[in-house]
């Protein structure tokens, strides 16, 4: 039996590898973007043993620089050499004033009566870092969403893709809006043909559910458009190597006809895009829903929140990015208040030092939100729970109990106050609380522990 040489077979394998087109799917793209935002926003992790030498080095350099400046200034003042460092202070009082650090304006009052630190403190630095992280997260999410809608590289440079990135940017951040006149220059009809028909996306992801869904008033026309070949259809450069895109080559797909039938379906309602997803969530549908969640950047706020909520446990990073996007896009919506609370909870769960500041920031925003009433109680409890100072924690929890006496968190709040007092050795104050706990919650989770405290505080 004659076989081709090994060299030729190797070439054959290499050709096969060269023909392979690795595709980056939407979910991976979004997951990596979320992970990237996390990693970039996180403070640089340096081993503690290296921090001290670094600080020492900085201190040594600063001290050396001060010495050089002082010597130079002294030398200049004695010799009458023209001073390049500015006029020296006239008297001792001015010397002291010059050495004194500038007084920073006080920060705004916090809920617990203290003042927030502003200026150059660690907290402010951490917050600033976190803000940039949030910005990056939003920007990456926006990019991912745009790519999920249109596919990267689908539009030529300079072309407005999928409804226009400017439009999306304007939706998420006002400062990122396109220059005036750029959007109106796009003819309405052209915009309609390039805009991603969301109904088709959902129908594509869940073809079985499509006929039962509801579409918005404009969607029938959009569905009909989706069934037509897209502008990119037939272009091999777009068809190969591009990630999953919703609308290329629609006409050739078996469900295209079914989708176009949706237009004629008299049962189609006209208040909003399809709201019914498949009831069964197989592993495939989980992935499909994730992609749908990303693509639904233009869906209603409620849908976007539902999509983010479904990701809270499975993929907190992605959920966080989606919640941030939702808040940026619709800051006054009722869902935004809930999203802020979810963000705060996620931040607390991640447990990092800086995450506490993120949680506080979210809770501060809840406090001034028009729909804060719905989340006031859990937000108030969370604000107490992240308090690290024992006295402030007790004060906060006592205030919480007075404000929400029938809250489900009351049992935990009571136990925490009592525990804090026992830990501080204030049995006199702890005793009535322990008695209250035993009276009101005889079968509470902390009953056994409360009994221990009771024994410890018994005279």
């Amino acid at each position: 039996m004659s076989r081709e040489p090994v060299d030729d077979r190797l070439d054959h394998l290499l050709t096969a590898l060269g023909r392979a087109r690795p595709r980056l799917d939407d979910l991976t793209r979004a997951r990596v973007a979320a992970g990237l935002a996390e990693a970039i926003g996180a403070p640089a992790a340096s081993p503690p043993r290296r921090r001290i030498p670094q600080l020492r080095r900085i201190a040594a350099i600063t001290a050396a620089a001060l010495v050089v400046v002082a010597v130079g200034a002294g030398f200049a003042s004695r010799r009458g050499i023209p001073r390049v460092l500015g006029e020296p202070p006239a008297n001792a009082h001015e010397v002291a004033a010059a050495r004194r650090p500038p007084i920073e304006p006080p920060g705004p009052l916090t809920a617990d009566g203290g003042r927030e630190r502003t200026g150059t403190g660690d907290a402010a630095r951490a917050e600033n870092r976190r803000f940039s992280k949030e910005e990056l997260r939003l920007a990456l999410l926006d990019a991912v969403r745009r790519d999920a809608l249109t596919g990267p590289g689908a539009a030529p440079p300079g072309a407005d893709r999928g409804g226009g990135p400017g439009a999306r940017a304007a939706e998420t951040s006002p400062e990122a809006a396109p220059p005036a006149g750029s959007s109106p220059a796009v003819p309405a009809q052209a915009a309609a043909t390039t805009a991603p028909p969301l109904v088709a996306t959902r129908a594509e992801l869940a073809p079985a559910a499509a006929p039962a869904g509801a579409v918005d008033a404009a969607s029938p026309a959009r569905v009909a458009t989706a069934a037509e070949p897209s502008p990119g259809h037939g272009d091999p450069s777009i068809a190969t190597g591009a990630p999953l895109r919703p609308f290329d080559d629609d006409s050739s797909r078996p469900d295209a006809a079914a989708r176009s039938r949706v237009v004629d379906d008299p049962g189609v309602r006209s208040e909003g895009i399809i709201t019914e997803l498949r009831p069964l969530r197989s592993s495939e549908s989980v992935v499909a829903d994730d992609i749908a969640a990303i693509r639904l950047g233009h869906g209603s706020v409620a849908e976007r929140y539902a999509a983010a909520e479904s990701l809270l446990r499975r993929d907190p990073a992605l959920a966080r990015a989606m919640l941030s996007s939702l808040i940026a896009g619709a800051p006054q919506a009722p869902e935004a208040a809930q999203a802020l609370l979810d963000l705060a909870n996620l931040a607390v769960k991640s447990g990092g030092t800086n995450d506490i500041y993120v949680a506080r920031m979210a809770l501060d925003r809840i406090a001034v939100h028009p729909f804060r009433a719905g989340v006031a109680m859990p937000a108030a409890y969370l604000r107490c729970a992240i308090e690290r100072n024992a006295a402030l924690l007790r004060a906060c929890l006592t205030q919480f109990r007075a404000r929400f006496p029938s809250s489900p968190y009351d049992v935990t709040a009571l136990a925490r106050i009592a525990f804090s007092l026992v830990g501080a050795g204030d049995c006199a104050a702890a005793r009535p609380l322990i008695a209250e706990y035993q009276r009101r919650y005889p079968s509470g989770d902390a009953t056994a522990m409360v009994q221990t405290w009771h024994d410890r505080c018994s005279p």
Binding site: L13, A16, A20, P22, R23, L36, P157, A159, R161
Partner: protein
């Protein structure tokens, strides 16, 4: 730095890079959006469809974020990014060590384009698994040089620029890699022949 609002899809890479280096998150996101697919494809060719490919892919952009302040614009951003991709891939391969490895059939399947018949698909999947298995057994430096030249079709000079090596060195690596791959194929086939009566 041009404000985000004034950027268009046609904004030059260098401009994006300088904006991103200055801390503009949207510029960095635009770079990610622009290059994610190409980096992912190249990375897959270099390290194979391994389970940790996603982590390596993320690492590439993380390194890019760190390196952007050092980007002077001497080379194009794509070259700069591909160089980072290759460095990250090299670190990954060196850390992982040389091994044939079993590749997930689903991951291999995802590399196949077109609409082949089931038999054809199975054959192509087997071919891809075999070539990745062979490449996994040669040294990372040789592997990277070989993939860039023999699979991606770069010239020796282009590959040398990306690898940060001399052209002659890259040429030697490619030749040695090919020789080793042929030897490995022959050895594998001899083993199979011995097993089959």
């Amino acid at each position: 730095v041009k404000p985000a609002a004034q950027r268009t899809p046609a904004t030059p890479d260098a401009e994006l890079a300088s904006s991103a280096a200055a801390g503009d998150a949207t510029a960095f996101a635009e770079i990610y959006s622009r290059y994610a697919d190409r980096v992912f494809a190249r990375l897959t060719h270099l390290i194979g469809p391994t389970a940790d490919r996603e982590d390596v892919f993320q690492q590439v952009f993380l390194e890019l974020h760190r390196a952007l302040p050092r980007f002077r614009g001497d080379a194009s951003l794509s070259t700069f990014l591909y160089r980072i991709t290759i460095n990250v891939a090299y670190d990954h391969l060196r850390r992982r060590g040389r091994r044939a490895g079993d590749h997930d059939p689903t991951a291999l399947d995802a590399l196949i384009t077109g609409d082949p018949t089931p038999e054809d698909r199975a054959r192509r999947r087997e071919e891809l698994g075999r070539i990745f298995s062979l490449l996994g057994q040669i040294k990372p430096k040789k592997r990277l040089a070989f993939v860039l030249v023999a699979v991606e079709g770069l010239s020796l000079g282009e590959a040398a620029e990306l690898l940060g090596a001399q052209t002659d060195a890259v040429k030697q690596r490619v030749l040695h890699a090919r020789r080793e791959l042929v030897a490995l194929m022959s050895r594998d086939e001899r083993r199979i022949e011995r097993r089959v009566p």
